[in-house]
Amino acid sequence: MQKTLSIEELKDICRDVRADIVRMTAEAGSGHPGGSLSSVELLVPLYFSVLNHRPSQPDWPERDRFILSKGHVGPVLYSVMARTGYFPVEELLTFRKMGSRLQGHPSMKALPGLESSSGSLGQGLSIANGLALAARLNGRSFRVYCLMGDGELQEGQVWEAAMTAAHYKLDNVCALVDYNNLQIDGKVEDVKNIAPLSAKWQSFNWHVIEIDGHDLSQVLKAYREAKSQKGKPTVIIAHTIKGKGVSFMENAAEWHGKAPNKAELERALQDIYGEEGPR
């Protein structure tokens, strides 16, 4: 079980995770900082306070599962995994390099603790449903979480899976949508609008919780509410800011898949930690 961390402690961890994200992408010279930074407050409480898991025993059968559907944000997942003890934090800087366990997009065969391989958008929720059905069949009580991007919701498979989860009343499934309103070609509403989003999920028979995805107490509350839902899957629609925490990356489409250079990395770390620097 997890020890209870205060909001202040979680905030400190979020800063470290943000720093990891910009360091990893800067060191690799490529990667996806924008959508990694927008998901920090979703994954930090999940890995540090919500998931029932054992980082030292990644194949523990009773563990809750996290499926990263938007596989391009490996940096945020690798960081929370390292910082919860799945592997050494130093290994983060091997990201995207030849021979690394931290592949450019997650490979579950390369790194224990990853529950799926991803990088082709729109496929994760189906996997989560399958795991949830297996849990039911095997009489296990683990929960399955799945993180998707808002642009990713344009994939038809997401809505096929949305129907599946509701049809089979998979209340052990909790979907997370990082609603940062940006994809590669621009604003989601300009490329191909997904709104009204809450109404869509509701009409697909999901329990919908809409929150500020950077407010840790709202995020924690949403996870609790999702867990108490019976007979329906839950989706947490998290309104976020792409590039959150790094001033020049915030709400800027060009930082979707671009690495900071040395000077930009320094500025980013300043933004994250302020003048006093890391703890």
């Binding site: 390099k97 450019g104 082709s120 642009g151 038809g156 590669i184």
Partner: protein
């Protein structure tokens, strides 16, 4: 040597088509910048459709546009179009023989650090098997532009494969480009290297190094993998008696397989195949990956020496 990615040739070809052919429309799936369709979008916004991250929908929409008399060029990374939308390409587009052009960007392992999920290594196999599909893999940016324009000139489905990395521009503006007709880049009588895509430059380097060893290698640019120029293959087999194929793709079902199918039927000569050997890629720099997966001039040269050893 000038370096330029083949995807740039696609972008330029689309621009030219935009100017010369009002029926040409372009669709992309949230990758307009990296596939270079953004250039067309800026010039001809009313003929550009961003379909969002919805490749299957994009293929179906293109089918409808083709039925309505347009010439759609659908574009995204090769893995997501040839893979994700394969059934739509097969049944909706190819079965009906619709005039849909498919631009598959980021073909090959040279995509680099994004890793296996983004390195398309199967499109030749996936597209080659579809009846009526034309399949073109340009060797450099100049040829890519010609191929794009030529694709609009034929009626029926056509897949064009492009690469991310800047690679040598070694074909010339004045070189002919005819779909289905291979170009001989280097004459030789001892062995023939048949290749497609940017790896052709490595094949040419291999040809030069073989010459230093007294081996005369013919090098053929098989830019069209379907319909395949069987005549050029059989002529090379008769005249040189040994074949090496080279491609940045799975050997199984790829150019090597296609060439071998022709040879076993009509003119069995020894063949060696250079390409990806039944494995997924991984993250790394394009150079590291070419080295590890054996896609260098050296690897082609060694294959030529092996095949010469088997030649009777």
């Amino acid at each position: 040597m000038k370096m330029k990615p083949t995807r740039d040739g696609y972008g330029e070809g689309l621009l030219e088509l935009g100017r010369t052919n009002p029926d040409v429309v372009v669709l992309d799936a949230d990758l307009a910048k990296s596939t270079r369709t953004e250039w067309f979008m800026k010039q001809y916004p009313e003929r550009f459709f961003d379909m969002g991250i919805a490749e299957q929908d994009m293929l179906g929409t293109a089918a409808g546009l083709a039925l309505g008399g347009k010439i759609p060029f659908v574009t995204t990374y090769g893995v997501f179009v040839a893979g994700r939308a394969w059934d739509q390409i097969r049944t909706t587009v190819a079965y009906a023989g619709l005039n849909v052009k498919i631009g598959g960007a980021h073909g090959g392992i040279s995509v680099g650090p994004d890793g296996a999920t983004h390195q398309a290594l199967e499109e030749i196999a996936l597209m080659r098997v579809l009846p009526g599909m034309t399949l073109i893999i340009p060797a450099d940016a100049v040829e890519a532009k010609k191929a794009t324009i030529a694709a609009a000139g034929i009626n029926g489905p056509c897949y064009l494969r492009f690469a991310r990395e800047a690679t040598p521009v070694f074909t010339r503006e004045e070189d002919p480009f005819v779909i289905g007709k291979a170009n001989t880049l280097r004459e030789g009588s001892d062995v023939t290297i048949i290749a497609c895509g940017p790896i052709l430059y490595e094949a040419l380097l291999a040809g030069e190094r073989l010459q230093e060893k007294g081996i005369e290698a013919r090098v053929i640019n098989m830019h069209t993998v379907k319909p395949l120029d069987e005549e050029a293959i059989l002529k090379a087999a008769s005249e040189t008696g040994a074949i090496v194929t080279a491609e940045e793709h799975q050997i199984m079902g790829g150019l090597g397989g296609a060439v071998a199918e022709v040879l076993v039927k009509h003119k069995p000569v020894p063949v060696e195949m250079v390409g990806i050997n039944d494995t997924f890629g991984e993250s790394g720099t394009p150079e590291e990956l070419a080295e590890k997966y054996g896609l260098r001039a050296r690897d082609i040269m060694q294959a030529a020496e092996r095949v010469l050893g088997r030649k009777k």
